[in-house]
């Protein structure tokens, strides 16, 4: 593979025209099956990394708190919208806005999640079905507030770095590879935090047996708030990463939510390893079917896949049978 990095493309090229360029490369009718499949796998892998990030957040929240957060996708959307806001407020070089967004949006969204935990979830005692209803409410509140203040338009954000990785058959957006690398780093970071730090130990203890953890002096309440914020933060960061590829829009949260559900069910509710493996199965197959057929069909196929898994193993592929 000849990899050429062309960082010299002028920044005055608009996002849209770059999109057309990509279209030209990707849609090239002369591409034969092999390269086409390679492209699909590449797209799928990038998808899978982002999906893994979002699903990890959902899975952590389910694993430790035993609740399903329907508003999880809205945290993703908030991350994307905040990234757009940062790019406008900071101005200048896109990289600056991107870095600011990477730092600020998980903090803001995490803070919002802590408030929601304190004001709503804690008061209903994390009862599973009430929590689902409450988070559906939260979904509409967040979504409609964003519609009020941000508007109904989809808005693009400049990629922070722009270079093309040129394969013999097509050029590929280098930023997408950066997204995959950053997501990978965050996944490894979260895994290290879970397995090596005291906070991670507390989280795992709470996950295994909440009452016993409390008896051993684990501040369970604070752990709940932290986990909810962490889950929201991971989702928001994924939103920040994705927004230069996919524009920021107030309805963009639903797709990642449903895909993460698929991932979490296939992986087994609450199993982090299962979530990771399933994210790659779902992300890559979604990418491949999307490129060869249509994204809509890909989602339908993924859902039917879940039906199969549920029929064969109600607890998910990696979950415990009793879940």
């Amino acid at each position: 593979l000849s990899v050429a990095v062309s960082g010299t493309v002028s920044y005055d090229a608009t996002h849209e025209s770059r999109g057309e360029l990509d279209q030209f490369y990707y849609g090239s009718l002369f591409m034969s099956f092999g390269p086409h499949l390679f492209l699909a796998l590449l797209e799928g892998t990038v998808n899978a990394f982002v999906l893994a990030l979002v699903a990890l957040g959902l899975s952590l929240v389910f694993g430790v708190m035993r609740i399903v957060n329907i508003a999880h996708g809205e945290f993703f959307m908030l991350g994307a919208v905040l990234a757009w806001s940062c790019s406008v407020l900071v101005g200048g070089v896109p990289l600056m806005g991107f870095i600011v967004a990477l730092v600020i949006s998980p903090i803001l969204v995490g803070g919002f999640a802590v408030a929601a935990d304190k004001l709503i979830l804690r008061r209903i005692g994390y009862q599973p079905e009430s929590t689902i209803v409450a988070t559906i409410g939260l979904l509409y509140i967040i979504q409609q507030l964003v519609l009020t203040f941000y508007g109904p338009d989809a808005r693009p954000v400049e990629p922070p770095v722009y270079f093309r990785v040129v394969f013999p058959w097509f050029g590929y957006s280098g930023y997408k590879l950066v997204v995959a690398c950053l997501s990978g780093l965050l996944l490894v970071g979260t895994w290290l935090a879970m397995s090596k730090t005291k906070l991670g130990l507390y989280m795992r203890a709470t996950q295994q047996d909440q009452e016993m953890a409390q008896a051993f002096g684990v501040p369970v309440r604070r752990i709940y708030a932290t986990v909810f914020a962490l889950g929201a933060g991971l989702s928001a960061v994924a939103g920040v990463l994705v927004v230069p590829i996919q524009q920021a829009h107030y309805l963009m949260g639903l797709d990642p939510l449903l895909l993460s559900f698929i991932v979490v069910i296939i992986g087994g509710l609450g199993s982090l390893q299962g979530t990771m493996v399933a994210a790659f199965i779902v992300g890559i197959s979604d990418g491949v079917v999307s490129v060869f057929f249509s994204p809509t069909l890909a989602k339908i196929v993924a859902t039917l896949l879940v039906a199969m898994v549920l029929v064969l193993r109600p607890g998910g592929l990696f979950g415990k049978e009793d879940s």
Partner: protein, 320 residues
Amino acid sequence: VSRRSAGKVFVLHMGMLALLFVAQFLLPAYHHTNLARIMVLATYAIGYNVLLGYTGLMSLGHAMFFAAGMYGAGLPIYYLQFGALQGFCLGVLLSLVVSTAFGLIALRTSGVSFLIVTMMFAQACYLAILNFNKVTLGDQGFILSKSLEFVALGPVRLVLSDPTVKYNLALLLFAGSFLLSVVLAGSPTGRVLIAVRENEERTRLLGYNTFKYKLLSLAISGGISGAAGASYALLFSYVGASFASILYSIYPLLWTLLGGTGTTMGPMIGTGLMFYLVDFASGLTSSYLLVVGAVLVMLILWSPQGIMGAIRTRWLPWLP
């Protein structure tokens, strides 16, 4: 229902139906149409309440049953010139098939997994409607003929777009499903469903096949929802993908919760209140769905029993 309260229950429910019948002579045209719409949507909520209120299974995917009824009725009428009554029957049949088939798969899971599965399947149906837009006409949907007749017996022709016919057919649909839910709630089968809601393990230990009862409940619930969907298509002459979207799975949950889960009158009251609240909010702002979110959160925080549930606890313990 004890013997003493049976009379009160009868009077109350018949009174509600009589009130709805009389209302058509008193209401101005705008509210007349609204109430017809509310009665059809309340039927949907009644279907939802059978599953949530009386069996304790929460679904986030009822839009697929509503849409099954709607498309099951709408497509044959649109493409094959079926009559309204035939279309209605096909719609109900399709929703029964969909809900039973779905139940056979989804009821293998329980609790939170069941919820997620309902939501995903409904989304898959929604996407399928969009994906096959050559037939379903996707997001745009299609309009049914305004001159569609419900029955035509010699000189008696009941045209569905006539407001009086519309109102009374909506009332007929509502009354049918309303009485079905009242009878079901008091029947031995209904008692078992309530037992499943209260404690499934114990019900199983008593020798009931709880899977069968849950499947039955899901089929009844899906069938009533489908009847509502089919009627909506027939009475308001429009079939579109938006009725299969996730919002239409959330709406019956909201209506039922607001009115009171596990109460027979709750769905109607919740639907009516919410319909006017959303109607009012949409006149003020384009972000009117904010009220949906706000009401859901407030209900869960302060009044999880809903309106009729609260009335039952405080004043009228005999309410079914």
